[in-house]
Symmetry: none
Subunit: 237 residues, 4 copies
DNA sequence: GATGAATGAGACTTCATTCAT
DNA sequence: GATGAATGAAGTCTCATTCAT
């Protein structure tokens, strides 16, 4: 005589209609105008794929992997349930592809950053700006959040994320810190913990999802403060 | 194919095996020796409750809320599945009670800290030590992680956590920072972002769950480095 | 806009109520009166199991493995769908257990027959009788039919059937034929093809399922004729 | 995210690969050289139909009706899934047409046999030979097997099979037996059970699908033994 | 005619919750 | 209080069938 699984499953609004999958998003570079009929079909397919990924991101972000129903993803993407399976083997693959698709483009950007040999003060400002504009204020924030919240149950994704994204970020940070330390801009020990540099960003992402409504957080200001803190420590050395 | 439903339920075998719910855990202050038979019964009940909570923590931590089966919780607690419902209304309540039970004791400790009027250098060491010993190296780390990973789907818990725990921590931190700033120990802007102080701790918790296997992290060292960073920034002011 | 999968799926009557799972059937030797409450529970469980097996046999026989819905099996067994999974891992296992449960008891009987050293004329009569009474006129006929119709998609069952049942039957037949041939009761070549002895039985089972309505078949008479044929051939030798 | 649905469907690529529907198979008498363009088109259509039927036979044989996916049939026939529906109303019709197409040509052959007035010894040899060469060693064996395994769920096919094939075979056998009995070649009772004559053939077909791998069976030898048995019985009369 | 992307009904299976014992 | 068998709602995935191109 079970009635409903979890009370939290209530109040889930049926998605009746959604905005047409927004034009140029980050899921795919840019589809040049399709020339032939075959290309048109392929383009249509990619469009669908993107629509699914976009819908999936929203649902997964809102409810988490397990609680998300493919029915809802389909409704949000304005397609039939079965269509999802034309593009993704199963729910798990959809999730993984989502993470992959959203994070892959980041890698290039990051790599570039590590290479630039400019004063930390300048670079830090740039980093903060990129983080806020390219991650925090976009859907990528949700992907990072998903990574944090679901990563444990998807070791493969965690590995992918570590290998393809995080290790690069960490590597870039370390390179930056090493040069900064050499110039006396930061304490040498910091080189061992690039995570410290990233920490406020992650905390901001977590905070925004859980506590924003109780106490808003000015991310940019926080990160600037943090940067200032790091830079201020140099004098000591 | 005898239909004997007649046999009365006399000699019902006791639960095959009952794990002695581990001695002094953090779920309950201390059960003073039960005096009367009634107390004994009550104590037994509390023991059960604790066993369930402990088992639940392990399962929830390992799989997340949705993916956790009460079957497994019951098995781990060495009780029957139905018994869980004698102590908790439903799965969601169990989860909430778990968070509550584990985090409540923390509050007192934190409040105390905010009050102590000692140099930040001393206090910071103490805080790091408490965090590592009382959170990071205990199951409370898992609770914090659960808070992070599941909080979004349990606004009530997020609220409880914010109200009962986080706001106190933040408040204490702010008080500490205010005094430290007054003494010129830290830049004044830091008072607005106590989150920065906590960030490395959270990052460590997340890191430990996702990437430890790829790249281990020395939490204590990282936090000391962070503290040093914060303290080093004072000179500037 | 798919409408329905297969036209043949129509006209499937909903099983609203079924006769109480018949008393002493072949699925289980005999449940001696349950003594304790625990025994009662166990007995109840076996009863359920049998009810499921019985219902499954009927559904599988009527529609084949794939076309059978566990929903219907459950309805026929007067239990909830989920209950099936308390007794059988999945649909396939249910099917296999069904075959196993029904055929296993046969083995003993067969072994006994091969041992008896009596004139073929006598033995053959006995065999025919056993086949008709123990197989053809019982649900075991359906099991044999299922073996024939589904065996190809269940190599494991085919193997089980061959190893546990068929090879014994064939072996017994061969032993019987060998002795009969030695006595000059049958041509020696027959020893190489015990299948010939069994063939009319199988054909009868197939016939009964497919063509009975067009042209009834008197199994017993056919088998007697066949036996007579085999015995008549002896004179030649 | 280009939305170019504008491109017209001009140069649609032809099917990647088109298997030359095996030359002279049994599905169709003989396609006389197509004379006009219209005939060519029709011939092309028949070719397609045959390719589908051939593919269907293989898939149905391997997996049974329900478990066969039209996707697989299409892939095997090297056509698009939708094309199947240009030639057959639905899956069930495809199945029925398949049986029909394969069995119809047999009928003539059988009728002829019943008419020949030769000694049973001669005729029987001929029958065995025809069975082995025309059925057992061809795909028709699979059709007969399908008839046996799926017939129950397709009463219409069973009826067709009985009416168009089986009754003719039975009739022919009966005629043969009647004449043979009149000549004293077989016991008179056999006339009532022509099934006995066919039984070893069916058993061989079943055996080949299920147990061949455990114990091979020499069909021709078995059938010869069986014929010898039947003929040997005459002396008695 | 041919294609194959899209659809959506349907079936298996899981598991939170209940309740007779 | 405790048990664990039973329930049935719900979700994932499949695949026959349709239809725009």
């Amino acid at each position: 005589m079970a009635k409903s699984r979890t009370a939290s499953a209530q109040g889930r609004a049926k998605v009746t209609a959604m905005a047409k999958p927004r034009g140029g998003n980050a899921l795919r570079p840019l589809a040049t105008k399709a020339a032939s009929a075959q290309d048109a079909r392929k383009a249509r397919g990619l469009e669908r794929r993107d629509a699914i990924l976009t819908a999936a991101l929203e649902e997964f972000s809102a409810r988490g992997f397990e609680a998300t129903r493919l029915d809802d993803v389909a409704a949000r993407a304005r397609i039939a349930k079965g269509t999802i399976y034309l593009y993704f083997r199963d729910k798990e693959t959809l999730f993984q592809e989502l993470i992959r698709a959203m994070l892959t483009p980041l890698v290039g950007t990051i790599e570039a950053l590590g290479a630039a040999d400019v004063p930390l003060a300048v670079l830090a400002d740039r980093l903060v700006d990129i983080f806020v504009r390219e991650v925090y204020e976009t859907r990528r924030k949700d992907v990072v959040r998903l990574m944090i919240t679901e990563g444990r149950r998807f070791p493969k994704i965690a590995e992918f994320y570590y290998r393809e994204v995080l290790s690069h970020i960490i590597g870039a940070m370390r390179a930056i810190l090493r040069r900064a330390a050499a110039r006396g801009e930061v304490p040498a020990e910091l080189v061992d913990f690039p995570q410290i540099l990233v920490a406020p960003g992650l905390v901001a992402i977590i905070w925004s999802g859980l506590f924003e409504r109780f106490e808003p957080l000015d991310v940019r200001a926080m990160m600037k403060t943090h940067v200032a803190l790091v830079l201020a420590a140099r004098k000591k050395a």
